[in-house]
Every structure is written in structure tokens, then in C-alpha cells.
Symmetry: D2
Subunit: 359 residues, 4 copies
């Protein structure tokens, strides 16, 4: 095996789509007003309004964490509770951002399979929350990660079920769509069906992981939910003065369905690996592979360490649990190399030594 | 006059330097670890260490406001006071960011000419602050804007004077270097002399206004002052997952003195205008033009409105006060057009109508 | 002169009114629900509704700072600006509390005589604030201190003038009534006329300084301004579990006009001193003495030091500026001792040595 | 049954100890400096230093929530994690206070029996926390509730076990001693053994629930852990100007072992009820009754509703779960009435109807 990188660490390890860098060149002419007052950011509003088939406001922001935290802060009180899955990114990986932006806003974990918030479990939590009691934080919003942090995808009806529970009790529905395009590619429905028509009020629209460079976005479908989001962004240092270079990325992202094409490539890579792994004894996929991530339980910790020793790059999520993430530019050779390495570790490959990487 | 824009609104209205977009292409290969774990961000540490001739840590961040707010939050207590000039950007234009990031940190305005904090005035404020009294916020940091918000530049000794007052009383020295390169070009000294050697502990290093796209940076000279800055950034959603595309911009920015070349162009444009205006009766430059900004008092509000009516783009800062900012790509024709328009408004030009812009 | 204390440091140095301690005994029977669910706190709502002749909500809180900060946090956004006089207690003496509770809310100083916010100056500030511009904090509330931090009292029309400016622009009107009873005693009008009828939306009702023990209160006239104040209080640890002992103090405070009687005593003491001082050459009262505080400029720093050396207790507010505060229990002998000491320092007393305090 | 209240809702429903009101009278003489500068607060430092046999600082604060939140904010970073039991008061009943005071500080639930944090479970959580990873909040403190929120009491060795795990990893140990006296009465050891000698760095010392009126306290054993706590208190509006009336309560509280005598009375009442209930079939005490609280599972929801219908006052914590809290002044007749009512609901009493309360 040559010294080719086999990298399944994260989709944020990948390249930017050339179309998105090209877009930066294209807009680098003339002068434009700063802080989002430029013509390109205005055009982006129009463009996303078409893409989502509804009036909306879009705010490019540097990171998904910023998108999540501002969307929640703008729609919650500081004494509010945000319901999310225990595995949700905001709960595990954002270093207290929700509480920081919200002035103390607390996360409450809700059960559900494969990283999904269950509508029934949400209902039980809200009913036990002590609505109206001053010593209890008050239900304010629910956070859905799409695709989930276990690599599954909410069905449109699952989103709608959660939204119904939430809206009936005054909660905002926030979707952390860090991998929204990957989910959309799987669902095959329109962006509208996958978001506001199913009840989503605010969407963190992931761009970076799926071929972007330096921008994600907040998409606000329910302006009353987040009337003051512009000020929240400004006081948080999240409004670029040369906003046009962020807006240009997002324009390119949705142009000619680039986002879906990139997402399909990543999903296809993951699906292909999943199919090949499912034929192997001793392997367990702990959640359905519906987007571009695989959570794979191997028979032993040794097997994981073996993969690492072979130079396969991935995240270890438990003694026997590995996460493999496919990028839009993950190649077939990388996929094949991963599967082969796993087969070797399982001892099921016929000639493991012959294929073995040099130590 | 053809339909050419004459745009002095802000340096953030300008283009990105082509070198910086080219840098994005150059690094768009292979895979890299996210969130600043990439090789390019590591190389940036080394590169800036050379540029500033001292060990330091550099953190690319999306905006100058983010840089300022995190630098101050990481070096102050929530019950701290940050001293700054009344005209300082953190005091006038950052929508409560310092207080938000700092958990309440309060700004205290300090007098001084041309937007500069005076060391003597700072000393008086600290001495009257009630150090050790629990009902008083406690002196924590001083903020210097370089170049100042009035277009002047602190001399190295002026910085050192403020730093001595601050350090002797335990305050951190933060420089908001949104236009650090412009100031450096004027000072003609080394980056080290203009920063840590003069006592600066933390520097917000402006990149965007001077030819960048989407990144500025925090440069920390005194690691003990801001030990935990990485967590502050993460919880604020300010750590890009594809950091390499930010680091690449900053690498290009300092390569072959690009930053200084761009800054010199902007400064030269401003200086040229200043020289021509200084010959005109009825015009007052309210601060020395030492970087790329001019603050110009015209003889009447009518004169300002006349400029606006002619289509000259600039910021109005008072009934008779205009701000004109030169970009790295401000052309000589723009400068000439501005001066000519001002002359017309002053009634000093011989044939105003002949030069008049179409309405 | 015997070893009697002559103490003009602060009204919070004084005793509690015996009636208020007696009230604690009276309610110390049986069991009551905690956290304000008790019958006495309910009765307090009714009682203050009568006193102020309007529906309202009253929340006993431990301190005036808590009252101010929660009232403002509950009526402002985190990107809001609170206008106040430069001498306002929230600006000088509350250790960043407004910013802390408000998530960054910033104080903006407004000019005015004798510690009063001028309606005209407020209007100018709001008009220059940049309403609607995301990089500017947004006008949210105005804070009036009654009596002012210079010992003056707003007239009812002065309050109404400020309120009109504020309400026309969507700002809430908050009165820091740390010495509300003292002001009321001077105004001679009803509590209603001095508050909500003049436009006050939220009142920090001082109790401690005027004979209380451990409680002040927030009185909310405009419930929509501060709908969620109960949660703000709870998350800030400001809701006593045995609330009845706080409510009992406030009930006793307004019973039989106790608050006005105590305030009149303090005011009379201050007024008497003022009258005697006004006859002395070399003395300047820097603000009208309309409540229980005197701000007195002496001819020399030496004179102040002389007073201190004589054992007179007071606050020094400048090289030649002294603050003398009268308590409800300040005795005539204390007042006489103060005036005599000042006369001695002025050298106007005929036989200073004979009256001299032992060193 | 006469109309006598049988009230087991909470220990905060009870009276104040007469000794503590008497103390207010006793200190209501002369003048004293405000904000804790008084002689009585100074004396309290000395007194508690004796009681706890170690140098310490004590800060009277209005509520237990304030004590908890400030103690944690002063010892944690805003990106910190505080480990606590899922049932801990800070986690269930303080309306986001920890996050608010801490600037986002997050609570992480740790397993353990009877409301106790298990040292082993704590160790596992810290080891899985991602120490040093910027996207993870960082272990900062552990919170132990003594007595626990299930009515159990940590043994001294259990506290020491948790402290060892915490200190070895740089975490502060905070004890929420809302019922510290009740626990101490059970342990029978010295206050020192139950706190700092077992590793406690900061103690929220409950006073209100055990006979106080309006004050609890923070006791800081490790001054370096919380160097700036005075400022934290001041900016939070938690420093009474007439502090002596709070300090007086705490002085009286520890005088002649009043705190222990009151706690023993409450504990004895709870213990007596527990003993009588343990003889009844169909009753389950869900945690050992080691202080003044009982958590009792009845055989049916109907039984709970029957108790409520009889007019017994208590908190319902689940369909079949009741909480009964004994006050220092809970009388034997109340205890007997409770047990008799439970017996009636169980159908084990011989003549339930004869004793039945009118509906």
C-alpha cells in the first residue's frame, strides 16, 4: 500500500469545492458596503428564499457552533431550557456555547434512538419540567441535529412530530443542519419539506463540512422567533465586514445543486462502505448509515488499535467504537482501503500480511 | 465624469488582495485536521514568531470585534474595567461585545488627543477607580487602537508610556490593531517594536480591512495573561473547523511584506488627499492624517450634502464632519475626484458644473 | 466632648426602626409556604397596590443593587443601552452589576444638573445612538435616581419630561428609589404621582437605608415591561425561601406612614445642617439639599482633614468635597457637633480649642 | 381532627428560632459601617474560624442558590463543567443560576446512590471529559449536597473519597450544605471533620431552613480557590448594606450549639416517623432517613391523593412518591398525625373512617 492518506477523521478535514473558491474570485471586484450591506448578501436572501420557497432571512456565520448558539440565544430566555439529544453536538462538543450566548440557558437531554429526539420523550420532559414554577428553568426550544450525531437521518414526519409537540407548548424548533445537505440528499424531498414545512423555525445550515471554506449560515423561517438576531450576531463578533466573501460561498453552494451533488458523493461513499461492512461477521453498525457517517463497533479494542497502527485515520468513540466520516472528496480507493483494513483486523481477509501497511 | 464609483466609506468596502485568494487555492489539497490542528496553522505560529521576533500564539478569528472581545475577556475578570478612548471602536461600534464576552466587563473612557489614550489620563482614572473596593469595578486592562479611530498613529514611546502605567498596576495592555499594518507602515519600525517591546500583551491583528477576506487574528505575546484563550474562542463559536483557509490568508498577508505594501498604498492615498486639502481654505483636518483615514471638517453642512449629492461615498460623522477612508486599492482617480468635489463644494473650483457628476 | 459618635458616613450605617424588627416577631408563627407563596407576601401585594393606587407587583429583594440590576435586565435586551447620569449609583458603585445581569447591557452617561438626567440631554443621546444600526447598542431604558446621588430631588414634572422622551422611543423608565421615601417626603405628593403617574415603569424601592434591615423591593407598574421578572430573580439567587420575613419588613415600613416619618426625620436633620452651613463663608453646597444628603465643598483639603482628625465620620468625595448623610436616627446633637466642627475648621468659631475633641 | 396544620412541605415553611430574632434586637444599637465593614461581621469571621478550627472567610448571603452559584462561579472558568448528582438542587431547582453566574458553566450529572456523587463515577466522568480539548468544557468543580436531596448523609470518608478524585485533577470541591447542620448532627463529628478536613474547599452553609430568617452563608476554606469572591458578590447585588443584621443571625445560629440543637430536633422528628413507617407493609423509604427528610413510596397514587385529601401538606415527587420534611419546630402531634394518616391510607389502621378528615 503506497503512502496514500486514508482519512475518515471528519468531513471538515476535506478540501473546499473548487466552485466555492472560484466564487471568491468572481466577486472580488469593485467596492461594496460592509457588514452585510452588500449586493451579494442581498442577492443571497433572494436566492435562498427561492431555494426554500418561503420568506426567510439568512445570516452567514463563521461556524456551526456560532449558528447554533445564536439561533438558540435569539429564541430563548436566559432562564430557558433547550431540549436536545444527549449525543447532540451542542451538548457534547461546543464548550458551553449555548449557556454562554444564552446567559445561562441550560441543555436538557432527551432520549431517542440513533441520536434523534423522540417526540414522546420530549413531551414527557416538558410535562415534568415545572412550567410556570420560578425555580425551574422553562422549556424554550428543542434542537434537532440533521443528520444526527449517530449518522442517521430524521424522516420528515419525525421532524413534524417533534415540532407539533414543541409548538403546542410555545417552544421554538431549531435544526442543527451541520449536515443538512447530506440529510436532504437522503430524504430526496425539497429543502422546504425538510425544514419549515415540517415545523423548523431556525436552521443552522452547514456549508463548511460539505465543501465550504469558512462559512455556515443561520436561516430564520420564523422572524418573530428571532427578531433581534442581527444584534446578537454583532455583539458576538460574528458579522464579517467583508460579508460578500461569505455570501459568495453560500451562493455557489446552492448554485446548480452543488450542495446536493457534494452531499451525494459523501453519502455514496459511506453507503458503499456500510454495504461492504454489513457482509462481515463481527461488525456492528450502531446506527443506520443514512448520511456520510458510520459508527462501527468492532469485535475488540485490539481491532481498533490495529486500524490505527495501519495508519487509518478515524475517531475513536469508545473502546470498540469507531467513527468513520466520508467527505465529498473521499475517493473510492480510500473506501476500499478502509474496508480492506477492517477485514484484515477481523482476520477475514485471506492474505492480510501481504496487504499490511509497513509499520 | 463616467459612472465610476468614488468610494471612501470604509476600507472594508474594498477588494481582497489577489495574493490572498491565490493562497486559498494553494492550500486546497489533501486532508488536514480541523479546528486549527492543521499543518498550515502550525506553520503560521512559526511564521508570526519570526515576524514578531518573539514566542507568541496566533489565533485567526473572523472579525476584529471577536478579536477584541476575546482578548479582553481572556485577560480580565467579569468585575473588571477596561480603559479605552471614548472614540475607541470597542466603545462606539461593537454592540456591547466587551460586556457580553466578559460577563459584564465595563468600559471606562479615558481622555486623550486624536483618539489616543493619554498615559497621564489613564493614571488619573486608575488612581480614582477605588482599587480594592468591592463596589467598584477593578482596573483590568487598557485598550489602544492603532491606528486610532481618528486616523492618528501612536508613537512607540506613547505606547510604552501607557504600558508602563498599566503594567505597574497589574493591567493588561491590549492593542486593537484593526489598522496595525497602516500604523506600522507609518512608524517604519519593526512589528516587535510597535507591539510587545512597547508593552503590548495582546494584539488584535487586523487583516480584513487591509486586503483580507474573512479573517483577522489575535496575537498573544503574554501567554499567562490569556492562558485559556482557546476555550474562550471555542465556546464563542469562533474556531473554524477548516482553519487552514484562515491561516492561509494570514500567511499570505505577511509574505513578502504584502501587508506593508498594501498599507502603504492606502496610507499614500490618504496622505495625498490630506496634502491637497490642507491647501484649501475652509477645511480642517481634525486629526493628523497618519494612516489611511481622514476626518475632515467642512465649512457647512451644505457642503457635506453637496458631496453626497454628487455621489461621493463617505461616512458623515457630524453636521460638518466627514470621514474618508482609503483602501489599499483606492485609485489616484478616486482621490482626484474626491478633492475636486470638495473644491467644488467650497466654491473654490473654477468650473464646478463642467465637472459635475450626473445625478 | 464625650466619646459620642458623630456619624455622617451613610444612612446604611444606622439602626433599623424598632417597628420593623417588631414585625418579624409578629409573623413568626405557624407555617407558611416558601419562596413568596406565603400569605404575608400576598398581603403585601394588596397593601402596596393601595399605597400606589394602581395594580402592581412587588418583589422584595436583598439589596438596591439587586433591585436595579434585575429591573433593568428584565426590561432590556442584552444589546441594549441604559441611559443614566454619570453620578448614578448603577454607574459608580455597583461593580458591573447592570452588565452582568443584562448579559452585557451598557450604561451610557447623560448630562444633567445635580445628578439628574436632563430630558433634553437624553433626547440628544438617543438621537445620536444609531437606532437600528446593528453595530450600535440600542436604547432600552433610562435610569433616574430619586433622590439623586447629589442629594437633589426630581420634581414630578422633571420625571414626566424624561418619561415622555423615553416612552416615545420605546425605552423603559426605571427609578432607582434607594431614597424614594426621602424624595416623597420632600415632594409632598402621593406615591403614585411620584412614580407611575409621572411615567415610571419600574421602581427600586429603597427600604434598608431608611430604617429597614435586610430588604429593598422591586415595584413593577408595567407588567409587560418585565413579564419574566420572577425567573430573573430566581436564577439570580434573589428569592428568599422564608420570604415572609422580608415582606413583613415592607408591610411595617408603609404602615402608618412609617417610611415617611423616618424620611422626614432624616431630611429635617440634613435641612437643618444645610441652613446653618449656608450662613458660613467659605462653604459651598454643590447641590440643593432636598433629601438627607449634603455635598459640601470646604475651602481647603486641610479643613476636610481637620474634620477627620476631630473624629467626624463622613465620606470624602474629592480633595475639598465631603458627603454628609443623615440617618432617620441622626440626633440633633450629632448635627450640632458636625456644624461646630466645620465652624472650627473654618476658623470662624470663637473658641475652637475649648470645643476641641481630644486627639 | 381539629383544624391543626400538619405541614411537611419544607423546612423553609417553618418559624425562625426566637434566639435569632432576639439577636437582631441586640445588635440594633449605634452606627456601623455598611457592606460588611461592621464589627459584628468581623466578629463572625473570628467566631466561625473557631467553630471550624481553621482560617476561613465567611460571607453571609441571602439564599442558598446565591451561595451555590457564587461559590461555583468564583472557583470555575466560564468554560468549566461542574459535576453534581442528577438530583442536586443546583441541577433541579435553581433556574439556570450556575450557568448565569458562571457565564455558561455547565452542570454534568454524575451517578450515585441516594443523591450522593460516587467517587468512582466522578472519576469516570472526568476521564471521559476530554481534558485539554478546546471543544469540550473542562472539569472545574464537584458539588456535593449535604444532606443529599434524597435525605441521606455523606459519611466523612465518602466526602474524602470524592475530594481526592477531584483535587488530584484540579477540581474544586463545593459542598451545598443547605442542611449541613442536619448532617453534622447525624455524623456526630466536628464541623472541621465534616468539611475542610475531608477536602471541602467551599461550603454553602445553610441557615434559613434550620431556624434562620433571611440569610445563608458562603464559607471559603481555600482562599486561593475563590480569591475574588467579594467582587462576585457585589456585582450580583448580594452584599447587604446593613450586613450586621445578617451576621447577627449567623452568630446566634452557632452560639451555644443552637444550629445543632435545632437540627437534632428536625432529625429526631424524621427519624421517629421513619421508624414507625418502617413497620408498615406497603411502604418503601427510597433512601435512608439520615437527616430531616423522608422520601416515601406509597403503594398507590390513590394513597397519596388520600393524604392530600385529608389535608396533610407535603410535596408530591412522583405518582407514588412523597417527600416529607421535618422542621426544627415540627411537633410530635404533627408526626403522629402524619403516621396515622398514612396508616389510614394503607388501610392498616383499625378505624380509618372514624378518624377521617371531612372532605
Amino acid at each position: 500500500m503506497p503512502h496514500t492518506t486514508v482519512d475518515f477523521r471528519s468531513d471538515n478535514c476535506g478540501r473546499a469545492a473548487p466552485e466555492m473558491i472560484a466564487a471568491l474570485h468572481a466577486v472580488n471586484t469593485g467596492t461594496e458596503l460592509g457588514y452585510g450591506g452588500d449586493t451579494l448578501t442581498a442577492a443571497l436572501q433572494t436566492r435562498l428564499t427561492q431555494v426554500f420557497e418561503t420568506p426567510l432571512r439568512v445570516y452567514p456565520v463563521p461556524t456551526g457552533t456560532a449558528a447554533n448558539a445564536v439561533a438558540l440565544a435569539a429564541s430563548c430566555t436566559p432562564f430557558g431550557a433547550v431540549y436536545c439529544h444527549a449525543q447532540a453536538h451542542i451538548n457534547t462538543s461546543e464548550c458551553n456555547a449555548t449557556g454562554f450566548f444564552g446567559g445561562g440557558t441550560k441543555l436538557v437531554a432527551v432520549d431517542g434512538e440513533h441520536g434523534k429526539v423522540s417526540a414522546d420523550a420530549l413531551l414527557r420532559e416538558i410535562e415534568g419540567a415545572g412550567v410556570g414554577l420560578a425555580h425551574k428553568n422553562q422549556p424554550a426550544a428543542v434542537n434537532l441535529v440533521q443528520a444526527t450525531d449517530m449518522g442517521a437521518v430524521y424522516g420528515v414526519e419525525e421532524i413534524a412530530d417533534v415540532s407539533r409537540v414543541a409548538h403546542a407548548r410555545g417552544l421554538a424548533v431549531h435544526m442543527d443542519g451541520a449536515r443538512f445537505a447530506n440529510a436532504l440528499a437522503t430524504l430526496g424531498c425539497s429543502p422546504a419539506d425538510a425544514s419549515w414545512r415540517a415545523g423548523v423555525d431556525l436552521l443552522s445550515l452547514g456549508v463548511t463540512k460539505n465543501g465550504g471554506l469558512l462559512t455556515d449560515a443561520i436561516v430564520v423561517f420564523a422572524p418573530d422567533v428571532a427578531a433581534n438576531i442581527g444584534y446578537h450576531l454583532r455583539r458576538a463578533g460574528l458579522v464579517w465586514s467583508k460579508m460578500r466573501f461569505a455570501s459568495a460561498q453560500i451562493m455557489a453552494y446552492v448554485e446548480d445543486d452543488l450542495w446536493l451533488r457534494l452531499a451525494r458523493q459523501a453519502n455514496a461513499a459511506a453507503g458503499g462502505i456500510a454495504q461492504r461492512l454489513s457482509a462481515l461477521a463481527g461488525i456492528r453498525l450502531v446506527a443506520p448509515v443514512q448520511a456520510n457517517e458510520l459508527f462501527v463497533e468492532l469485535p475488540s479494542a485490539q481491532a481498533l488499535e490495529g486500524l490505527q497502527a495501519e495508519g487509518i485515520l478515524f475517531q475513536r468513540r469508545g473502546p470498540r467504537l469507531a467513527r468513520f466520516v466520508c467527505r465529498w472528496d473521499t475517493g473510492e480507493s480510500e473506501c476500499a482501503a478502509l474496508v480492506a483494513a477492517i477485514e484484515r483486523q477481523l482476520g477475514t481477509a485471506t492474505t492480510p500480511q501481504a496487504n499490511g501497511a509497513p509499520s
